[in-house]
Structures are given as structure tokens and as C-alpha cells.
């Protein structure tokens, strides 16, 4: 199909999506950049003036900003830790000869398809609720005081909820990778005298390294943008204890009506995302090249 005619036709077929995505990339981003240098508050829309780096300095000096960046990194790191370790273990378990593997897979994969508001509310009201939540009941059974998760450990609670949602994704990816490990390799290792643990360390884990890398990269992209779970449970509180960068910017924009500030925050969010991406790519990039 590679003749002169089709080259022109191909470009025509690609045009709509390329143009659309180009516009989608450039227009809003340049507007954000522009706004970030403006004094622009929606409560006073007529009064717009050039603000230089004021918005950025404001963010930089705001203690809530550093707290939110820290919380963002905690959420990403915490969820990654739980999902990668948990996902590997569960994948290993499901890969065993078990009865009803199909149903086990379906049960394990379900949380991923639950929309975040529902997931958050279920955890908030049914499980973590200090009054009638399941964990409270268990605590009372053990003679302990029920934990008020969202008051005492708000960030941890968010991490648990988000990890619950993403554990299936990691498990599924790792299980798929696990099942692609050539069984002949395992047999060869066994002939070479490797026991179960050795086979895991020297064969399985290196094979999984690539899949783990992919899981980490993909999840990080989505985890940097956790939003609904915070909105529906803690609203970022108490104080800023569970506010991540996304939530801080949201509050600045739509609760504080500060367009300039929120835009500066947005640019910072992009920079942060790129830094994390570069760091990740360098740290785990070699795994992808294999």
C-alpha cells in the first residue's frame, strides 16, 4: 500500500487527531503559562495586571505548598510500594495451581473498575468509619479503641484507598508477565541445582523487572493526579494533612478564585511531573532497553 497516492491520503487520515491533540496541548498550556504571570482573581475579574514572579514566590513561601508536594510524593511512593510488592506476591500466589483461578482473578481485579468516588465513600463509611465501620468493629472485638482514620491518619487513609484501587492493575500486569516466563528456563534452572528461592531471585525477579518498571511508570502518571478520593473523604484536611498538589491547585482556583496563583501551581505541577518522569526514566530506563 506504499505508493505516492496513499502517502497523501495517510496524512489526511491522521490530520484530525494530530491537529486536535496539538491544539489540546498548546492552547490551554500557553494560557496557563500566561495566567501564571498575572494578578487575576475571579472575585475581581476586571483588575488584571502583570504580576511577574509574584505567584510563583507566593507558592514557594506558602508552607501549604511544600506540604502538598511532600504529600504528593508520599501518595505516589506509598501506593507504588504497596501495589508493586503486593502485586508481585498476589501474582505469584494466583500463578500456583489452584481451584477456580478464573474466579480468583475476577475477584482480585475488581477494585480497579470501581469509580474513585464510590471507592472512597465505601472505605470512608463502611470500613474506616469510627462508628459503624468494619475496622472499628474489629478493633472493638480486640478490645482496642477504634481508629478515626481520616482525623488521625488522613494521608495514610488516602494511600490505602488508592492502593486498593491500583493493586489489581499491578497484579494483572505482573501475572501476565509471570505467565510468559518460559517454563523450560525454570526446568533448566532446576537441573542446574537451583531451589525455589534461588529460581525466584535469579530467574523470576529479573524477568519481572521489566513489567515492574512498566507498572511503576504507568501508575506514577496516574498517581500524581489523585483527586476524587481526597475530595470525597478529607477535602485535603485536617488542615493540609492530606492535600496533594492537585488538590492545592484546585482549592486555589475554585475555592480561592485565584487564577494567577492556580496557574502558577499548574506550571509547577508540570515541572514536578517532568522531574519525576526523568528521575524514573533514568533510574529504571535500563530495564526497558533489554
Amino acid at each position: 500500500m506504499a505508493t505516492q497516492n496513499t502517502r497523501g491520503l495517510a496524512r489526511l487520515m491522521m490530520a484530525p487527531s494530530v491537529i486536535l491533540l496539538l491544539v489540546w496541548m498548546i492552547v490551554p498550556l500557553s494560557m496557563t503559562l500566561w495566567f501564571s504571570f498575572q494578578n487575576y482573581n475571579l472575585l475581581n475579574p476586571a483588575n488584571v495586571s502583570f504580576a511577574g514572579l509574584f505567584n510563583y514566590r507566593f507558592f514557594y513561601t506558602d508552607p501549604a505548598f511544600f506540604q502538598s508536594v511532600w504529600n504528593t510524593l508520599m501518595i505516589v511512593g506509598g501506593v507504588l510500594l504497596i501495589t508493586v510488592v503486593g502485586g508481585t506476591l498476589i501474582a505469584l500466589l494466583i500463578d500456583q495451581p489452584i481451584f477456580g483461578q478464573g474466579i480468583v482473578r475476577i475477584l482480585v481485579i475488581s477494585p480497579f473498575f470501581v469509580m474513585p468516588p464510590v471507592a472512597a465513600l465505601v472505605w470512608k463509611n463502611m470500613i474506616m468509619h469510627p462508628g459503624y465501620g468494619v475496622l472499628a468493629d474489629i478493633n472493638r472485638l480486640l478490645g482496642l479503641q477504634p481508629v478515626d482514620w481520616f482525623a488521625q491518619y488522613p494521608l495514610l487513609a488516602i494511600i490505602i484507598i488508592v492502593a486498593w484501587q491500583w493493586l489489581p492493575f499491578a497484579t494483572l500486569i505482573l501475572l501476565t508477565a509471570l505467565q510468559s516466563l518460559d517454563s523450560e528456563q525454570k526446568e533448566a534452572a532446576e537441573m542446574d541445582g537451583a531451589n525455589v528461592l534461588n529460581r525466584f531471585i535469579y530467574l523470576t525477579l529479573p524477568h519481572l523487572a521489566r513489567a515492574i518498571t512498566v507498572v511503576i511508570l504507568i501508575q506514577t502518571i496516574f498517581l500524581l493526579g489523585v483527586y476524587a478520593e481526597i475530595l470525597v473523604t478529607t477535602n485535603g484536611g485536617p488542615g493540609y494533612a492530606s492535600t496533594n498538589l492537585v488538590f492545592l491547585i484546585y482549592r486555589t482556583a475554585l475555592l480561592g478564585y485565584d487564577v494567577g496563583g492556580a496557574s502558577a501551581g499548574g506550571i509547577i505541577a508540570i515541572i514536578l511531573a517532568n522531574i519525576v518522569a526523568i528521575f524514573l526514566m533514568r533510574a529504571v530506563g535500563r530495564n526497558l532497553d533489554r
Binding site: 502517502r7 496541548m25 498550556l29 475488581s110 477494585p111 473498575f113 464510590v118 494483572l172 487564577v259
Partner: protein, 274 residues
């Protein structure tokens, strides 16, 4: 040592796997159970046996007009998926069957647009939507959902189209098929499964999208994500009803998800894991 897997091994593994699976699934299961309890039952404490009443499902509709956000979810996810396919199929087609040296770069660029943090463009998008009268409209939200999922749609279609063996198209050409006949009789039937898989995954992703659907809607276009999110403040005796609403909100996608595991791996790992 016996080579065959011992039954003991199988039983222990099965027990452990089922235990883990049930713990993970428990929140969903308990929501389902609570949805068929009465309200007093729902907060009476941990109880796995409901009274099997469906009153909550009825009340949710009559008291809160559950149908409207449900229909919005359907329209938004199906609508944005169809729009994404209409734009994406020709793109993926051109990239798969007339590739150039730059094709891979264009693809990577498209995927990178998905990695932009949504919140960075919250302000301009919100203001633009407000100024163009798109806030709280189904059209506006459909466009948003199409834009953010377009990269994944194109990517998935591209990988499926590339799997169609070139030799079969050459055979069709040798058999006398013109371009149009090649497309209609050979290419399209072989592409349909891939398109269906992409459609399935995209409906799931659009249905569950929880940033723009909440921030750009208020009442008329709010889908289930926004609807459920509006119940975030505790209001006492309402938990059974909320469980019913939640069950209905997640049930279709849950079931679709059970059948789309392979598509999930393909679509969201960008081919890095097979």
C-alpha cells in the same frame, strides 16, 4: 521428590488465594450486601446477612432521580468513545498501514499528551468552558473525555491493526481485489475484534473518569462520578441507599472489566508487557 503437584500444595495455595481474593473483594461485596439491607440494619454493625429488601434501589430513583446521572454516564462514555473511534480509526489505520520514519515519534508524542497533569490546565479549560457556555453540558464533557482518551484509543487500534498480516492483504490484491474491496472484504472483518476491544476499554476509562466530570458539571450533565461524589458529607441514615446507588454505578463497568483483562494489559502498558 515427586514431580506431580501434590494435592496438599494445591489445597494450601487455593485456600491462600481465595482468602486474599475475598479480602480484596470484600468492600465491593459488603456494599452489595448493604444495598439490600434496611437503613437501620446498615448502621447496626457488621452483619453479612441482609434482609434482601430492594426498597433502596427504588428510593434512590424516586427520591434522587438516579436515572439522570446514570444516563449521563452512559451518554458521555459511549459518546466520547464513538467520537474517539471516529477520529482515531483513520489515524491508527494510516499509521499502521502507511508507516513512515516519523510514525513512532508521532505515536509517542500522542501518548505524552496523556501524561500532562490535568490540573495544570484546569483554569484555562474551566474559563474557556464558562465563556463558551460549555460548562455543565454533555457536549462539552464529551469533547473533554474524547481528548484525554484519544491517545490510548489510537495506540490500541494501532497495535491491533499492525497485527493484521501484510501477506493476507497481498493475497487479496493478487486475487483481484481493488483498494475498496480489500478494505471491505478483508481488512475490516479482521480489524473488528480490535476495534471492539478498544471500544470496551475506553467506555470503562470514560465512565470512571473522576476529575473533569466532577469539575466541569453541576446538575444537568453530571454523571455518576459527580453524583456519588456529592454524597461526601455524612448524613446519618442514608448508607443503605448510598450502597444501592454505588452498586448500580459500578455494576456495569465491573462486569465489562471482568471481560476485558487482556485489553487492559494491552491498552495501559503501551505494549511493554505481553
Amino acid at each position: 521428590m515427586a514431580r506431580a503437584v501434590t494435592t496438599r500444595h494445591k489445597i494450601i495455595a487455593t485456600a491462600a488465594a481465595w482468602a486474599v481474593a475475598l479480602v480484596i473483594f470484600f468492600p465491593i461485596l459488603y456494599t452489595l450486601i448493604t444495598s439490600i439491607k434496611t437503613e437501620p440494619e446498615a448502621i447496626a454493625g457488621f452483619n453479612l446477612i441482609p434482609s434482601f429488601t430492594f426498597e433502596n434501589y427504588v428510593t434512590v430513583q424516586t427520591q434522587r432521580d438516579y436515572i439522570k446521572p446514570f444516563m449521563n454516564s452512559v451518554i458521555l462514555s459511549v459518546g466520547s468513545t464513538i467520537l474517539a473511534l471516529v477520529i482515531g480509526i483513520p489515524s491508527a489505520w494510516a499509521m499502521a498501514f502507511s508507516p513512515t520514519k516519523r510514525t513512532k515519534d508521532v505515536l509517542m508524542w500522542m501518548l505524552s499528551t496523556k501524561m500532562m497533569p490535568a490540573v495544570a490546565v484546569l483554569v484555562p479549560i474551566y474559563l474557556m468552558f464558562r465563556d463558551f457556555g460549555l460548562l455543565d453540558t454533555r457536549i462539552g464533557l464529551t469533547i473533554m473525555l474524547t481528548l484525554i482518551n484519544l491517545p490510548i484509543v489510537i495506540w490500541m487500534l494501532y497495535t491491533y491493526f499492525r497485527e493484521i498480516p501484510g501477506e493476507i492483504l497481498e493475497a487479496a490484491r493478487m486475487d483481484g481485489a481493488g483498494l475498496w474491496q480489500e478494505i471491505v472484504y478483508v481488512l475490516t472483518p479482521m480489524a473488528v475484534p480490535g476495534i471492539a476491544s478498544t471500544l470496551l476499554l475506553n467506555i470503562i476509562l470514560a465512565w470512571n473518569e473522576s476529575f473533569w466530570t466532577i469539575r466541569l458539571t453541576t446538575t444537568s450533565a453530571a454523571p455518576l462520578t459527580a453524583f456519588i461524589a456529592s454524597f461526601s458529607s455524612p448524613q446519618g441514615l442514608f448508607w443503605a441507599k448510598l450502597s444501592a446507588a454505588s452498586t448500580m454505578a459500578i455494576a456495569p463497568i465491573l462486569i465489562m472489566g471482568w471481560f476485558s483483562q487482556k485489553q487492559l494489559v494491552r491498552g495501559l502498558t503501551f505494549g511493554a508487557v505481553k
